[in-house]
């Protein structure tokens, strides 16, 4: 399988477990890095004072919207603002289908919006489709050279 990594930004450990299980059950065995809130996600991507950001960007970011500290919307806004991550594929994976959320994320340049179904079988199907599409079918943007 494609060696591209997945960054899963999700604060609910149940959802983390179920998402990973759904992905695995369809043989999507790529590395999944989990960030439990917006701050962790930003630290992972852009680094902190002590630690530099990740050298190799993930193939796709699965981003929840309702997160503690820094919201998914703010994370997306930062990703789109930074030159390095401007073209990084970001898929919103969240509970709500509120119109305001949809408008907000698409306006900020989200690549896709998937609402997590309650039915776990459906959710597994969705995860499979997402993995197949973003990790296998989608041509990732060229990796920008570091300055």
């Amino acid at each position: 399988m494609n060696p591209g990594k997945i960054l899963l930004v999700e604060d609910n450990p149940d959802d983390v477990a179920l998402t990973i299980r759904a992905l695995k059950s369809h043989n999507i065995t790529n590395d999944v890095t989990v960030a439990a809130d917006g701050v962790e996600a930003l630290d992972y991507l852009f680094g902190t004072a002590d630690k530099p950001g990740v050298t190799e960007l993930p193939a796709v970011v699965l981003l929840d919207l309702k997160l503690p500290k820094v919201s998914g919307l703010e994370v997306l806004e930062r990703i789109r603002r930074e030159e390095r991550t401007r073209m990084l594929p970001v898929v919103i994976l969240t509970s709500s289908d509120e119109e305001n959320d949809l408008i907000g994320v698409y306006r900020l340049g989200a690549n896709s919006y998937v609402r997590k179904p309650v039915d776990f079988v459906e959710f597994t199907q969705a995860a499979k489709q997402l993995g197949l599409y973003w990790l296998l079918m989608n041509q990732a943007p060229p990796v920008p050279r570091r300055p």
């Binding site: 959802d15 179920l18 509970s95 709500s96 509120e98 039915d119 776990f120």
Partner: protein, 490 residues
Amino acid sequence: MSLRDWPIRRKLTVMLLSISGLVLLLTSAAFVGYQYWSYRRTLRDMMTLRGRILAANSTASLAFANAADATEILSALKADPHMLAAALYDKDGRLFATYPANPPHDVLPAALEPDGYRFERGLLVGFQPVAEGEGQRLGTVYIASDLGVLSAALRLSAVTALAVMAVALLAAYLLSRTLQETIAQPILTLADTARAVSTHQDYAVRAPQGGADELGALTDAFNQMLSRIEEQNRELKGYATGLEQRVGERTHELEERNEALRRNAAELVVANQELDAFAYSVSHDLRAPLRSIDGFSQVLLEDAGAQLDEGGRDALRRVRAATQRMGTLIDDLLKLARITRVEMRAEVVDLSGMARDIVNEIQRGAPREVDVAIAPDLTARGDAPLLRVALENLLRNGWKYTAKQPHPRIEFSSVQANGERAFMVRDNGAGFDMKYANKLFGVFQRLHSAAEFEGTGVGLATVRRIITRHGGRIWAEAAVGQGATFYFTL
């Protein structure tokens, strides 16, 4: 200034003076006339007497034809300067003697005239027969006098009359000035009062009371009228004050109500914001645990299903079914909330076309043989997305409740109900008991069990909310097993 516009004092004075002047004039004229006539008679009587004396004295002179004697007798007339001339004629009419010796030519008559005394040629003349005994005529005496005495007497009486008239008119003028006061003064006072009332709108003033005559009655009536007006004015002012007070009270009430409305509106804005936040929270947070329950139940079934007996596996499946049902409930509730919050945009909507689209969509999702009749050209003004939600709910209901019907039929058309146009969705499905019609449009109210017909009980509540937001009404008619008809107006 015409006579009409004269002040009443002048009118009265002029009237009194005119009347007394006329009376005086007539009286004086009668007096002078009478004097004149009476003087003339006296004058003629005196001439007659003088003629007779002359005639008597001249008898001898004529009988003896003594001219000198006759001239002397005639010359006795010179004592009276008014006697202009006299003449004695014999029985044949020949001039015998004259006075004066050569009388002015125009004073003597051209010929003898009949006997008698008369005024002619501005003179008083007389012809007196001279006779001796009975019927023995000897001749004629002629005498002529001027009218100096008459004109002097006439002048005197005219002067007297004028003097009396002047004094009388003066007296009348002075008297009229006093008398007219009794009539003019009350009228003038009344006029002044009326002017004061009309100028200052002061109905409290009163005209001073006069006598018991017509003017007194007029003053009384005028004062009574003023009293009435004053009273009515006071009443009117009372009404006006009351009215102002009422208007003030009403205005105050309105302001209070406006304030309450403003507060309500502000509260509503806050409530809407809270509802938004609530819906957002429900949407995100309430579904997450459901996903965990369903997800891990499935994990359990997949990973440990073999270790469970059929009862255990069935329990887990029931847990999952209930969880998913709760998910659907939450989604429907959120949709209902969204119907309330979403902004409406009015446009003309082709309901017939919309109904056809919806039916095609339902048919694709759950293919069945249903006789669908949609009336053409049904249009309404409203928000297209919301009306679509409403129509879809009604048609899906029809579709759902005719599932057990051998010849299912759904109809969408319009009818006239109570003078307004109502749209109608009718099916020949399960129907319901009208006893429960009041529960039909309540949230989570269902008239059928989930085992009979599945559903969450939010659909018709959503429809009613949409119709209400459009300012319309919705109602239903049905009977168990006879189908249901939903009417709505927009």
